[in-house]
Amino acid sequence: MTKQLPKVDVVLVGFGWTGAIYAEKLTAAGMEVLALERGPWRDTPTDFATTFAQDELRYYWRHGMFQEASQSTVTFRNNGAQTALPMRHWGSFLPGNGVGGSGVHWNGQTYRFLPSDFVAKSHNEERYGPLPEGMTVQDYGVTYDELEPHFDYFEKICGISGTAGNLRGDIREGGNPFEGPRSDDYPNPPMQMTFSQDRFEASARDMGLNPFPVPSANMSRAYVNPLGMQLAPCTYCGFCEKHGCGNYSKSSPQTTIIPVLMKRENFTLRTDSEVLSVEKSPDDTRTTGVTYVDTSGEEFFQPAEVVVLCAYPLENARLMLLSDIGTPYDPQTGEGVVGKNYCYQVMSGATVFYDEEYTNGFVGAGALGMAVDEYNGDNFDHSGLGFIGGGYIACYTTNARPIESHPVPEGVPGWGSEWKQSVRANFLKTTNVGVHGASMAHRSNYLDLDPTYTDRHGRPLLRMTYDFTLNDRRLTAHLTPVAEEIARGMGGREVNVAERKGSYDSMPYQTTHNTGGTIMGTDPQMSVCNRYCQSWDLHNLFVAGAGLFPQNAGYNPTGTVAALAYWSVAAIIDQYMADPGPLVQA
């Protein structure tokens, strides 16, 4: 028996970054908003206080911050000829759980995609000719210029630390000269760099590159955001990524938005409430609300005027498939849209080992780094290279958490006396130059429902079919030597290169940047959502998150995820509420 609840204006499925963004804007506009979060309530002083937040085993290795695979995981295979098997515990990526979602355990590296990233298909075809067979790259349907005010606002909500490289067309020393024009400077100056970044910067400048401080959601100074939330200076504790910040120094939904929301009468949050399906009207034109289950096992139907999917991209895609909304993608025919264009990130790098100097990696922060952008997007001529896209190359000092970070040079065994001595000799004396490569969509990489494995409610798990593509391999082969050259100029004893070769391995941590599956675009035959992130199929269903990306750029996704959320919620308030219906005529 499903219990019927009173109707609300808007239901949000999931309460991380995008849930908080939609909720704040919609409640400010006077709507009654209910957020349903699968996981528990979590807050800074009680759940990751500075007295115990620096617990590497608990939060990373025992997944204290993440979705429990026992509740729901994905099945994985490299290609359609294999049998997908469950990821029995997380590895390569770490979906969040609970209030704040992955926005609690992120690093805070907050980039804007390049203007050309939003028109990847048309831009590259105009410049280089037709895309190769099987590459399903598309335009977003929204432009950088349209998103710019929303990028700017999110940077102010977070108090991003950085140096503007392009202020209203004025190229400025010390920033990223390749970035799209910004309407305003960053709200805070860049973080203080350490030895490793200084060496990276000098080496990159020697090569004629333009290094700039990574835009960081770790506070470079005390800050009050536009909602009146107070953030404190980052203390460089080195427990950022995979951990919560107990210091109010890393922007998260908890430190930038949620306390304001919790004071509003027209906002309600229900935790430990898992949405099972999005319900449709008999004529299949609207959603009527969602069915969810709480921890008592009881099912509820929550009616709503508007539903927004704010869960992690993988779960948003799965919910649409489970709810039979939109046509599932079929890799055989290339038809259908839900689950299409799953992309990731292509990571590689070079580790520098010093003899005399100490890099002291424990003095670090999630977004403490310097980067160069000469090899990102279409910032360089791709003629004759056989691939499109690129990536930034950066030297971060995020941590020296010893279970995770104890690099040893090539040739040292993985255990035993020699390993032990080498761990000690190098523990305080290494840094890394990483390539953060784009991931272009390919016909054979997609998401669908698994035929065999089910979650604790008996519903099919999501199946991920994914491997690195020819474009990925050429991209990483072109960029990794650049990272190596920078690394070799940093004055170390030796440099070890970690290339991205072979098939995608689902276990070693790479990034929690899973994109696509619920992509946006200009054509209902080719995308799940229109340019306002509104479902082509059900006009009162909106989708948030990196699942909207038709392909992934060479940057961390959160800045663009947030800008799209602000853009979409503005369309709901300014256009949809006055005249509910499709905002783009198919």
Partner: protein
């Protein structure tokens, strides 16, 4: 433990419109509606594993596991190994708890042998995998050397571990390689984790590699410019007056 307060439960019953007949059930807590931020004392207390009694391994298993750990991170050279760090106590605690039970892992069948890129696919949660693999290892050693693993010489032990690592020694029905990979990972965890979990006793591993532990403010050191920062480590338990010279 964190449970919604009774008031919240009652409130959510009211909000739901219809009373639910099992008020003792813990279900979705409800927040917001102008009430501001909820707060509960002692909600996030860190776990503490400081006691000494055995919890999971039998005496024979314990001896074998301790011997394996002692070869993975030996006590020779210039610093402590798994023995000094008491990694065996860490492993015993882990296997007795949620991790050993695979409580947070997805453990539904069918169980098939995966590709190299599909990760752990054993039907056994970690503690069971240890138990089965240790029995297989014991049988292997007795068949080959007429003694259990712990009684062999260091060179013999290394040879066996290397064989498992390189997949030249296989067990049936569990995978020797899966066990080797897991115990190596867990041994490194125990060596380097906070002492509250039973390993890294007296922070010996942190002292050894120069990790200052669970401090949370390095602002004075950001401009170190490549110089050594000599800070004694701190654990989540603080720095009680254990036998250190600082």
């Amino acid at each position: 433990m964190s449970f919604p307060t009774r008031r919240k439960i009652l409130k959510s019953l009211l909000f739901g419109g219809t009373a639910i007949a099992a008020p003792s059930a813990v279900f979705g807590a409800i927040y917001g509606r102008g009430e501001g931020m909820p707060w509960e004392p002692l909600k996030g207390q860190p776990p503490y594993y400081g006691t000494q009694e055995d919890r999971f391994f039998t005496p024979d298993e314990r001896e074998a596991v301790a011997a394996i750990c002692a070869r993975l991170i030996p006590s020779d050279g210039d610093g402590p190994g798994a023995v000094e760090a008491d990694v065996i106590t860490f492993l015993d605690r882990q296997m007795a708890g949620f991790y050993g039970r695979g409580q947070h892992w997805y453990m539904k069948g069918p169980f098939l042998e995966g590709t190299a890129t599909q990760g752990y696919q054993s039907e056994h949660p970690p503690a069971e995998l240890y138990r089965h693999a240790l029995a297989e290892l014991d049988a292997y050693c007795r068949a080959q050397q007429e003694a259990g693993f712990a009684a062999l010489s260091a060179a013999q032990q290394d040879e066996i571990l290397k064989g498992m690592d390189d997949e030249e020694i296989t067990f049936d029905p569990v995978s020797a390689k899966a066990f080797f990979d897991l115990i190596l990972k867990n041994t490194i965890e125990g060596y380097f984790a906070d002492p509250i979990y039973g390993g890294n006793r007296d922070m010996v591993a942190w002292h050894y590699v120069g990790f200052p532990g669970t401090r949370y403010d390095y602002r004075d050191f950001v401009g170190h410019n490549g110089a050594r920062i000599d800070l004694p480590p701190v654990s989540l338990m603080g720095r009680p007056g254990w036998n250190s010279s600082e």
